[in-house]
Amino acid sequence: MNGGAPPTRSRFRPLAQVGLRARITIAFSLGALLVSLILTIASIIIIRQNLLAERERLVAERVAINSTLVADKIGAADVDTQSLFGSLSTAGKPSVIVRSAKAGGDIPISLDTRYGAAVLPASLTARVLDQRVASTIRFERNGEILLAVGAPIPNSTGGYFEINQLGDINKSLSSLLVPLLAAAGVITAIGAGLGWWASRRVLRPLSDITQVAADVAQGRLDSRVAYSEWADDVDLAPLVSAFNDMVAAMQTRIDRDARFASDVSHELRSPLTTFNASLEVLRNGRDEMPERSQLALDLLSSDMERFTQLVEDLLEISRFDAGAVRLELDEVLIVESVEMASRTLSTTPITIESDPSLQGVIITLDKRRLMRVLANFIGNAAKYGDGARLITVMRATHPPIDAPDEEPMDWIQVGVADEGPGVPESERERIFDRFSRGEMGGRRGNDLGVGLGLALAAEHARLQGGSVWVENRNDVISGARFVVELPLIEADDEDSDTWDNDTLGLDEVLVGPSTSEVTSELPVISIAESDPGRAR
């Protein structure tokens, strides 16, 4: 189609769709989240330990006091539970265990059966009653964390115990958790912000470089990243300077190639000029020459013409290769221009079919390049397809062929159809290659064309973001249709500084060419002007 195969693109790129910047930001916020969660958990643990230790200390002190207070009362034979615990100041659930040999064991006395002596862990009672040591133990019962503290009752065999519920500590801890988690959230957000900022700093040279690379791709080879902005950044300065060096090296190389092409061009064009002029002089005296010389001169003439064309084409294509070509955009009445071109380029009349919506439409394109393409197509049709018969000017809407995922855009398609044998399927891409002859080459006979015309046509189209291809005529007549497709960019009213609003009197448009002698036979195209100030 347009020479090179369009790059294949993967449709699946889940990770690649998250940009570097997003990834940096995510990493920063995840880090911040992790750190703040660790801090939250650590502070909860430490605060809990402190609260528990404090509680244990308080309870232990109270238990020590209470154990002496109950000492007097347990001497009596009948211990009244109410009177035993009534006078005590306690926040917990008190119990007393009296170890009595008489009764044959321990007699538990508790105020509250749920948190009574029966609940006390055996290890605690053993330590208090057997070893007579004040002890503290934390344990869990029915999902509730309890603190049990015991102390031996002085001058007796019993022990005084208290069970404290620690649920309130968890409650206060959980109320602390809310602000801590909120703080963690804030820290995470700050982390994300930091990541965004830092990544912008990291990525700014990248976006600068992207901009410059785009500029360079569009031919502004002197575009550079401002090094001074990054000069004091030890990490980024090498990247920026290496990039600038690369662009400079490329520019040097392109300039050198272009200069070389220009030098070669000069070296080739000069002798050709001499050849052509001298040949002309010889041709002027052809009639006086012997027949053999005339034949030789004719051979020389026709091959010189071909050779000149070849050199022109080679030089032109080398300019494409050297990147030394520039678009020259014109505003073109597309249908009228194609009509004019067909009249000039073909000795036989060609039917023009055009999309009615394109009548009078002005399109921005490089007219000379389009005309070169059409000249090539029409010339080609004359050589191999018994002459061009039908030219179509149509609209099309589809995404760019090398980026099928992108938005559809408008295209202008100019097709040149002949009634020749057509181009076999297998040749349709190859004939746009340089010097390709294909099977058509066999039919060239004496008229050996040079296989650069279609390759050049492809370059002319590609330079404008378009393409060329050949297909079978899709109507009843067999033949080949060569198509050039260019982006349809309707000329904007505002972008032309030479545009004048005073075209109201426009009634007729004269479009050449014709001989100045026969003005009455000028092709005249009438443009209906319903919208003053607008020539479309």
């Binding site: 064009r269 002798p271 000029t273 001499t274 052509n276 002029a277 448009v509 479009v511 014709s514 000028l522």
Partner: protein, 232 residues
């Protein structure tokens, strides 16, 4: 075309390559013209001062002062038709040549028939003043084709012959739009694939001479996508 060549038409060719110069001279002499040769830019300016030629053919790449400068110096003294010859079809060279005052340009390797056709077109233009004698008025602009005179507010505007011919072409179809191709064909004798820049640069130059405000032309106006027209 096919006009008979006026005896004694002199063409000055400025070309440093001796072989090209000689071959071109032979081809031009076959057309019946008298050819004067110059190798260096300085020589060309001197030769033109001594005896002005009817057409000057200048190669851009010259030792010493280049073709652009030769063109400018000759243009300062005369409105003689000048054809620039360039070995490069770059926009830069073409536009620079036209800006320097050239009337037309040719890219090497040219076919001598093409060159003589261009020369003929320029010569025809140069004495196209015979014909209609009517005055044409476009606002403050007055054109008298028969005398080759253009006045603006009564003052004579000095135009080169190509500029004058361009103005007359536009004036001969008042208020009609002439496409670049048509102007190329009528004024320069080019075929359809002539270079529209030729017209654009000449129109620009013409505007600086005939328009009161060349940046906002009132007479020589651009019709987008179509071409140019002359209006009062």
């Amino acid at each position: 075309m096919g006009e008979t060549v006026e005896v004694g038409t002199r063409i000055l060719t400025v070309e440093d390559d001796e072989r090209i110069r000689t071959a071109v001279r032979l081809a031009l002499e076959d057309e019946g013209w008298e050819v004067e040769e110059a190798t260096r830019g300085e020589d060309a300016v001197g030769a033109f001062e001594r005896s002005p030629a009817d057409v000057v053919l200048i190669d851009i790449m010259l030792p010493g002062i280049d073709g652009f400068e030769v063109c400018r110096q000759i243009r300062r003294r005369s409105d003689v038709p000048i054809i620039m010859v360039t070995a490069r079809a770059d926009t830069h060279d073409v536009v620079a040549g036209l800006e320097a005052g050239a009337d037309d340009y040719l890219t090497k390797p040219f076919v001598p028939k093409e060159l003589s056709a261009r020369i003929r077109a320029l010569l025809r233009r140069a004495r196209s003043t015979d014909g209609s004698t009517a005055k044409m008025r476009f606002g403050e602009l007055e054109i008298i084709p028969s005398e080759g005179v253009v006045t603006s507010e009564g003052r004579i505007v000095h135009l080169t012959k190509t500029e004058f011919r361009l103005l007359v072409e536009l004036a001969s179809q008042p208020s009609k739009v002439l496409s670049r191709e048509m102007l190329l064909e009528r004024v320069w004798g080019h075929d359809y694939f002539g270079d529209g820049r030729l017209v654009d640069v000449h129109v620009r130059r013409l505007r600086t001479k005939v328009e009161i405000d060349p940046a906002n032309p009132r007479h020589v106006v651009t019709i987008r996508g179509l071409g140019y027209k002359l209006q009062p």
